[in-house]
């Protein structure tokens, strides 16, 4: 089972800075280990690229608003989100999520996408006991060993009445 590599997406510097800080705030602390944050940002870039242009723009704008909006959050003392210390950044996110309005919904959506990107990293999955490839290989083998003839017959039955190209 292989899949073709995907193009490496590019996040703008502004988005990248805000997204990095956001990832550090909403992912577990282990996101700072190794180059995980970089890889979360790459995944995030790929996810943004998969969205339609309007949704991509909305999420990117939300990140910028989140970043600049921190300036009017009193404990930040005028700093943008990307420049906040961990405790203030966390408190800022908590305050946004607690608002139950459109801003909270957008931050919630951003949080979902970024944490999905973190838990899509294979070593993070292995750390919580999820390693599907060997399992898939084993049960796929068991399937063929147990039901091989029936599977071949079933697959053939779906197409057995089909003429070969060129046949009348």
């Amino acid at each position: 089972m292989t899949a073709a590599p995907e193009d490496d997406p590019r996040l703008s510097a502004v988005i990248r800075l805000a997204a990095r800080r956001f990832a550090e705030a909403v992912c577990p602390p282990e996101v700072r280990a190794g180059n995980r944050t970089e890889r979360v940002l790459r995944e995030f870039g790929l996810m943004l690229a998969a969205l339609p242009p309007a949704a991509r723009k909305a999420l990117a704008t939300a990140l910028i608003l989140l970043d600049q909006g921190a300036r009017v959050y009193p404990p930040s003392r005028g700093r943008r989100f990307a420049r906040l210390d961990d405790r203030t950044a966390e408190a800022y996110i908590r305050a946004l999520l607690g608002r139950h309005d459109a801003a909270a919904e957008m931050v919630q959506r951003l949080k979902s996408v970024v944490t999905m990107c973190y838990y899509d990293l294979p070593e993070v999955q292995r750390e919580i006991g999820y390693d599907p490839a060997p399992y898939i290989a084993a049960v796929s083998r068991r399937r063929l060993e147990t039901y091989g003839p029936q599977i071949r017959a079933g697959e053939a039955a779906a197409t057995e009445e089909l003429p070969e190209p060129g046949e009348p």
Partner: protein, 510 residues
């Protein structure tokens, strides 16, 4: 049998294409692939245009992020705007949503068919009328029960909870050929055991002479007067870039893009329904997810995606199911972040996720928004919100009965619940509608069929009222929600409508 014969992907299209055929089909999912194969078998010259790419079975892995980007529209992140908004997912690849659905295959409940006949005057829609089409759908896609060794511990616990409560729970009927239980349904079945359109009707259609163009988006249905003349569109390059134009001339056009894309395409083609129902009447079976933590190792990804359904509350429009989610998906829905999220996810292998699917009475609408494209709006009815909460409560009760130590509810801001008593106390107070976290994978009803052109967009067999040669064959046709997984209904209607087309081929001119 090679699927490559008759299949053309974007890399092979270097310049503008002008094609001609008897019937052009837009979409290669449950409706499109089925009707294409049936028509090809009858000797009709068929072209299928699919916006998504061709991804063969051998390319499928359990990598959720990659699957969301390659097999789903918009990375699986569709959103129906409302209070609350509802996240939804649509497949976009050769084989359509059947490549990424859970593989549940159920016949339409007779009471639903009766309602369609009585309220919309839909012809030839009784249980008896559809029986041969259901039987053929089940034969084509190997529908049956799961082999016992593939049922995972999460499903066993869910069943144990239902049994302890004395509730009716049934094993799922699935379109699978000795499914291995890899739990990869939503990222593409890596063994081909799930008999999606990718491994059944698509190769069948191609072997019978149909031509399929992947990575080709249809922009408009073209017309001359009241009659359709084909479609125009363009090749989709990697990253969504626009490639060469495509024109297909055909006297019959069948649109099968699903309940969001089908009305969007018809509306941007300038088509209007006298009923005013095109793009309206959207149902989406809202569902919500309860996350339960057990003391024992569950390892829910060892076993089939979804083995049982609790039917005890079907009369109330509630189905309850347990569905294992990959870490990627679970992290996206858990109501936590940072260190707290890490602590919850550390127990990943002790988690069972389950929830209700609601037969909704509220409806939504698809509109084309300039500069944005199709946008979905959905208004959750008050009584549906009440049923979501009840479904969540029942699901949590079943999970507690199975031994869950604590559960997280899909209500923003809700505290963790540690006992059935706490659950009852918490839900004795009203739950804010806006706090409900809802998802959907069943989208229906936006080009509903009715014999009465004042009520429906198409007639009983999917022909668009007022546009000669234009047909719809997907879940858009459903006059309302069906309360069950919709794939087999889509396939059965496609088989039935294809037969009707073949019977009328002289008049239709193909």
């Amino acid at each position: 049998m090679s699927v490559r014969r008759g299949l053309t992907s974007q890399a092979e299209i270097t310049h503008e294409l002008n094609l001609e055929c008897g019937v052009v089909v837009v979409g290669s999912g449950a409706g499109g692939a089925t009707v294409a194969a049936e028509l090809a078998e009858a000797g009709v010259d068929v072209i299928v245009l699919e916006e998504g790419g061709y991804h063969p079975t051998g390319s499928f892995t359990a990598e959720t992020g990659r699957a969301l980007r390659t097999l789903y529209r918009d990375g699986g992140g569709g959103m129906a705007i409302g209070r609350p908004s509802v996240l939804f997912a649509e497949g976009r690849c050769v084989g359509g949503s059947t490549v990424v659905n859970g593989g549940m295959s159920w016949r339409t409940p007779p009471r639903v068919l009766d309602r369609w006949a009585e309220q919309e005057g839909v012809l030839a829609i009784s249980e008896e009328d559809l029986d041969p089409y259901f039987a053929r759908a089940e034969s084509l896609h190997s529908v049956g029960l799961q082999d016992p060794e593939t049922i995972g511990r999460d499903s066993e616990l869910f069943k144990a909870g239902a049994d302890a409560k004395g509730w009716n729970i049934v094993p799922n009927r699935r379109n699978q050929l000795h499914c291995a239980g890899t739990n990869s349904c939503t990222t593409g079945c890596p063994t081909g055991a799930k008999r999606s359109m990718l491994v059944t009707s698509v190769p069948r259609a191609l072997s019978l002479g149909a031509r399929l163009f992947a990575d080709c988006r249809v922009d408009r249905v073209t017309r001359s007067g009241a009659a359709v003349t084909g479609v125009t569109g363009h090749v989709v390059r990697p990253g969504g870039r626009k490639g060469p134009a495509i024109t297909v001339r055909a006297r019959t056009v069948i649109v099968a893009g699903g309940a969001i894309q089908t009305p969007s395409l018809l509306m941007r083609s300038g088509l209007r329904s006298a009923s005013g129902q095109l793009g309206r009447n959207l149902s989406l079976h809202p569902n919500a997810m309860v996350t339960a933590f057990f003391d024992e190792d569950v390892t829910g990804w060892h076993g089939v995606h979804q083995a049982f359904q609790i039917r005890e509350f079907a009369g109330e429009g509630l189905l309850l199911t347990a569905v294992n989610l990959s870490p990627t998906m679970l992290a996206g829905i858990l109501p936590a972040y940072g260190r707290e999220l890490g602590a919850l996810m550390a127990d990943y292998n002790r988690i069972v996720t389950a929830g209700p699917l609601v037969t909704d009475t509220g409806t939504g609408r698809v509109r084309n928004v300039p500069g944005v494209g199709p946008q979905v709006f959905y208004s959750l009815a008050d009584r549906d919100a009440v049923r979501v909460v009840r479904g969540v409560e029942l699901t949590a009760e079943a999970l507690f009965a199975a031994g869950a130590r604590r559960v997280l509810l899909p209500f923003a801001g809700a505290p963790e619940v540690r006992s059935p008593g706490e659950l009852r106390r918490l839900l004795a107070r009203p739950v804010s509608r806006r706090s409900l976290q809802l998802y959907s994978i069943h989208l229906m009803g936006t080009a509903r069929m009715s014999e009465d052109p004042r009520r429906g967009v198409t007639d009983s067999f999917g022909e668009f009222h007022g546009a000669g040669g234009l047909f719809v064959t997907d879940a858009s046709l459903f006059p309302g929600p069906i309360g069950i997984n919709p794939m087999e209904t889509v396939v059965a209607l496609a088989l039935r409508n294809a037969q009707r087309l073949i019977e009328r081929r002289d008049r239709l001119g193909f």
